[in-house]
């Protein structure tokens, strides 16, 4: 018999990574989550420890120190910072709901700023590559049902997307594939990762050699002879062996991680990978998909695209959308020290961006919106604590293959803590009244 205060909520959507598992069973007792069934190790930490390092009151920096402030004061301060700026940047959006991003884009329009999401420093190169080449992709179930060859390239799902392999790929069972025995798993990485240990074929590549290896692979797929004996640390025989596996499969897919997007060549690595996959479709069925890290970075791309036409790095300073990564992308704007204020939502760039970039963020007026205390909230001028999306707030998320899932609200947030949507809406309304709109 379950105690009265205990309840179980099933089919809960996990808000960790782009895998988008939606089969979690959450047990709640006395207003606390006490169990998360079907969750991976990372997810369990999130659901069971979400109360760690929270703060409950908006903060404003006064005399150099962050001090508690009323919600209205904080909204007013944030709105003033943004509307007085000549080139504000609104950054983050990958750990919040699509609904929040919708408001964020409008806010950027209104204050004449740049709206950018974490894509720039995770899978942006894949999008730039797709703008040159296109992309052959699918939903994850297609892989589960049909794939007989699965390649993980510069990705380590065992660590970064712990249930990916079991839910969707090599270990999953689909309509036309029984499971592990009917699938070949190939891993390309600079390290023999835990994922690589599972592989039927592991290709250890030199760091930053991806573009060369992909070029060689495209040659081999075309049946061209390789003049060089060793390419990116891999022998030409091995490359030909790999090419042969790819060409002869019935349905193959490459899942690529930031190991490919971040290594030297960046978008050109993806240009080559997308071209390889496209070429393979002349002889078989082949697809490719990025292993999106944050649970809704894909949603940030979708929302930004349908409102502005561009998936990230959108400059609205001149009233209309303008896009040019390298120019309008967050890291570049910050490292050129161009923006004069920033709003950071559900992201911790001070921890995750190169030092010089992060340092500049700490020098300009900074508004942060985040459930937790982070290095970025510590250096901000206004900080809003918010409800955790997927636990304390509902909203939709787009998993790595673009399938939309609706997250439930499981618990009430700490008292007086609002959702991202509510905070953004309040700032938007205040900016509107400041601008007399």
């Amino acid at each position: 018999m379950t105690a009265l205060s205990e309840k179980i909520i099933s089919d809960v959507v996990c808000t960790i990574c782009g895998t988008g598992c939606d089969d979690l069973q959450i047990r709640i007792k006395d207003g606390k989550i006490i169990e998360a069934k079907n969750a991976c190790a990372v997810s369990i930490s999130k659901f069971l420890e979400q109360h760690a390092q929270r703060y409950s009151s908006p903060m404003i920096r006064r005399d150099g120190e962050l001090k508690c402030a009323s919600f209205d004061e904080a909204v007013c301060k944030a709105a003033t910072i943004l509307s007085e700026s000549r080139y504000p940047i609104l950054l983050g959006w990958s750990l919040t709901s699509a609904e929040a991003t919708c408001i964020g884009v409008e806010l950027a329009e209104l204050v004449g700023g740049v709206v950018d999401n974490n894509t720039g420093f995770c899978h942006g190169p894949g999008l730039i590559g797709a703008q040159d080449i296109g992309v052959s992709t699918c939903t994850l179930g297609e892989v589960r049902h049909r794939a007989d060859v699965v390649v993980y390239w510069g990705a380590n799902p065992i660590h970064a997307h712990p249930r990916h392999i079991a839910r969707y790929t090599v270990l999953s069972k689909g309509r036309f594939r029984e499971g592990r025995k009917e699938r070949k798993m190939i891993v390309v990485d600079v390290r023999k990762t835990d994922t690589a240990r599972m592989a039927d074929l592991f290709i250890q590549i030199e760091p930053n050699g991806d573009y060369e290896l992909l070029s060689a692979l495209r040659m081999a797929v075309k049946g061209e002879e390789l003049e060089q004996q060793v390419i990116a640390g891999v022998s030409s025989e091995r490359i030909e062996e790999l090419a042969d596996l790819l060409v002869r499969c019935e349905f193959g897919i490459i899942f690529y991680g930031v190991g490919l997007t971040m290594s030297r060549g960046k978008s050109r690595n993806l240009d080559a990978a997308l071209s390889l996959v496209r070429d393979l479709n002349r002889s078989t069925k082949f697809l490719i998909m990025p292993m999106r890290g944050h649970f809704n970075v894909c949603g940030a791309n979708e929302v930004t695209s349908w409102i502005t036409g561009y998936p990230y790095a959108v400059d609205l300073s001149r009233g209309y959308p303008f896009y040019n990564p390298g120019e309008t992308s967050a890291v570049d704007i910050l490292s050129r020290r161009e923006c004069d204020s920033a709003l950071v939502i559900s992201s911790d760039p001070v921890s995750h961006l190169p030092y010089s970039v992060a340092k500049y963020l700490s020098e300009i007026p900074l508004v942060t919106i985040d459930p937790h205390v982070t290095a970025t909230t510590m250096v901000s001028d206004v900080a809003f604590p918010t409800a955790i999306m997927g636990i304390e707030a509902s909203g939709s998320l787009y998993r790595m293959d673009g399938v939309v899932l609706e997250c439930k609200k499981l618990l009430d947030p700490p008292q007086s803590v609002k959702s991202d949507v509510d905070v953004l809406r309040a700032i938007l309304d205040r900016v509107k009244s400041l601008k007399g709109a």
Partner: protein, 279 residues
Amino acid sequence: MKEITFRLKRPLKVPVDASCISPDILGDKTNEEILSFELWEGNRKIHLSDIFTVEGDAHTSSDDLEIRLVGDMKKVRRIGRGMMTGSIEVKGDVGMHLGEEMASGRIIVNGNAGSWVGSRMKGGSIEIHGNAGDFVGSAYRGSRNGMKDGSIVIEGNAGAEIGCWMRGGLVRVKGKTGTFPGVHMSNGTVLVEGDCEGRAGAQMTGGKVVVLGSLPSILPSFVFEEIRDKVKVTEEKLSGPFYTFLGDVNENGSGRLSVKVSSNPQLKWCESYVETLED
């Protein structure tokens, strides 16, 4: 030829869009008219007079107009956009998109230039007596219309992906370049006189990439053709010898990559293919 000189009045922080600074637009205008031209500083519309002082007299036809710019204009973008005549001379650094879609005329920069110099350029000439950023003479994301004609000469170094999706004309860098010069180019010439960081000619379908300095390796999708004594770049014959390669085979390309033998001992492996050819 009449001259007009713009002097930057104050340091700039946020990006300034100054596509109005072009002889085509400013020619035949009085200084007063010129100073009231609008441009964007971040999200604010300002007038040229807010950031520049003007000396001289522009009141002449565009063909005869020389615009001089003085100051640190690293943040000033799109100078000379689409210009079809006249000239611009800059003393100091300039920002991105210098001479974007330029069709004719001349731009000289005595300083450094940002990325996308001469993007989508159709003609005319740009000289940078300093360094340039990435994507010199290139297309923008998603489009295939890189530089079509004209010439861009960089006296110093340039960044990555110069001549990206280039369709004609010349990009000449006297110093070093980053990776991917001539990526996806279909015609025209990219000449790198210094060292290149690698991946020259990647995915090219036509045109010519010449590297006089060192190139760490040749992409596997280029096939060795021969050793040539000389390589022709526009009117000039550069003396080699050069290893020449055909590629990018992955794109069924017929582009030529020529790399100077003396700077590249690591490419000696090619010579084994020469012998087979001679056998």
